[in-house]
Symmetry: C2
Subunit: 327 residues, 2 copies
């Protein structure tokens, strides 16, 4: 077959590996549990076995363009070294890039998972649809990840930590974040934050039958008109609007993409998000589209992600094609 | 003589024009009042007469590399069109670039004044001293201007409005800004904001003899130990720290430069600025220098500007050398 690239999506729960053509068509995929408890060596071996299997299935090493890996942060980039990943205990200071290259004998590009997802949205999602190749993507999941793409390439900054907009302070002296700061966007717009905000909602039957609320069950309650749940998503939108006002005023990008599991509740948080963004950024007011839900050329567009949960895996496979930008 | 470039610094009060060699040595300068009341035609003519005089003095049109103009915003860039400049009444929608090029018959690069100052700090100020060519500069003057330089070039964004960090919301629902939003950094860290905060300080003798406080007289009172004046500068530092935490987490640049007249009071606001930055950004905590006042390679450095009030003029002359980055 034609040339192909392999992406690895390293999650705290699942390890996913897939091959893609240069048109971003998937040619094979392997999913397995991430054996965190067995240590880095076991996980690295699982990655390499899957890569080798896919290479053999897809035509052999001569057709392999490269291997890209999206990993939870924080990472030192482009060196590809894990720092202190909260979801991968025992993986501190792991030299992901070097270890994989030594095992595979091919070049490996390591990237933060949120940056990989943003790269995929740029080249095969909302960026491709809109024709814009500069964007910032916020991924609303367990945390709030974020990636900045400038003219088709990931913006790294000087230490590979560019685009950590999930840790921008939206409310001064607000809620304490796991990062140690207060008022971070992540504490208001992540699935975790939504579930926490809903923990006091009295509800006989919830998603997991245990009386515990999740971001999804709160969205369902909100959609059914439950006032406190509606209020929680109103707050998600407000925090996102403040964070976006920051980004719009600082970066002046043509496109901001909201992804991650929480984006399924777009209709619940989008109204307060756009209201707050309009209130908070005169640049947005100067450049807002006639209808915020409809892409408009030459304006500041904020749109839901198009690719869904596979964007990180596809973005990882794109890494060998697009060299990152560092300062 | 050797090749030279001409910079124009268009201010609401003064119009300054100077020639510089490609080593950024000044070769001649003309300063005149900006005849705002006589309209755009008069000001354009003053600019062109000064440019022609300097060209003749410096060796003739064959040695002229180009003309750069730094202007108050907001501007549409790279088109070089003024939008609605609050300090230049009657200049709305003026096509600065086109009008100057028609009159001078040479290429003219127009840039926002804060971006021009940032470019000068990059290539001849704190950026050159540190060896870093990616930075964000905040200029604390009548307002808070800001410019982002990535790898030696001005970051424009898609409409030329990149780097408006003076209008990042630092306090949600804070003070009303002239831009129409609330809580903008400009409302806490500009000379205007400092003077307003000090207007209730009872003081028999002040800088202008009229009992009106200025940012400078408040700084003098603070330096003499006056408690309310000290508190005002503490607040300047806190707002700057929140704004910088935003920028550090979003951009991960190696260098942030604080300029403008207010920076003379660095020792009054720097302690609370660094304290708040450290509190507000885990990326800063991961990458802070051992001593925040001393440049350290591979760290996040926040330093006072080196060039003083001429940086906008020099930066304007640099514009023909460094093409801006757009999305």
């Amino acid at each position: 077959m034609s040339m192909f690239s392999i992406g690895i999506d390293l999650g705290g729960t699942n390890l996913r590996i897939a091959a893609f053509t240069s048109n971003w068509e998937r040619r094979g995929a392997i999913t397995t549990a991430t054996r965190v408890q067995d240590g880095p060596g076991a996980v690295l071996n699982d990655m390499c076995a899957a890569v080798k299997k896919l290479v053999a299935e897809c035509g052999g090493p001569g057709d392999l363009i490269g291997v890209g890996l999206g990993s939870p942060g924080p990472l030192e980039l482009p060196a590809g070294r894990l720092l202190q990943p909260p979801n991968l205990p025992g993986f501190e200071d792991l030299e992901l890039k070097t270890e994989l290259e030594n095992r595979l004998q091919v070049p490996v590009v390591v990237e933060c998972d949120a940056n990989a997802a943003a790269l995929a949205e740029c080249h095969a999602g909302a960026g491709q649809t809109s024709g814009y190749h500069s964007l910032c993507m916020l991924t609303l999941g367990t945390g709030v990840g974020s990636g900045i793409i400038l003219n088709g390439r990931v913006w790294h900054g000087f230490a590979g930590m560019g685009g950590e907009a999930g840790h921008v302070p939206v409310y001064h002296d607000g809620l304490l974040c796991a990062c140690g700061s207060r008022g971070c966007l992540e504490q208001y717009a992540s699935a975790t934050a939504i579930a926490r905000a809903g923990k006091n909602i009295v509800q006989a039957k919830s998603e997991n039958g245990l009386g515990m609320m999740t971001a999804r069950s709160i969205a369902e309650a909100a959609s059914a008109g439950e006032a406190e749940s509606l209020n929680i998503y109103h707050g998600v939108g407000e925090a996102l609007g403040i964070g976006l006002a920051n980004l719009v005023s600082t970066l002046n990008l043509p496109l901001y993409v909201i992804g991650g599991g929480v984006v399924a509740a777009w209709s619940l948080f989008a109204p307060s998000m756009f209201a707050e963004l309009e209130r908070g950024s005169y640049i947005y007011r100067l450049t807002k589209p006639a209808d915020p839900a409809v892409l408009e050329a030459g304006k500041t567009n904020v749109l839901p992600a198009e690719l869904g949960p596979d964007s990180g895996l596809l973005g990882a496979a794109m890494l060998p094609f697009f060299q990152s930008l560092s300062s």
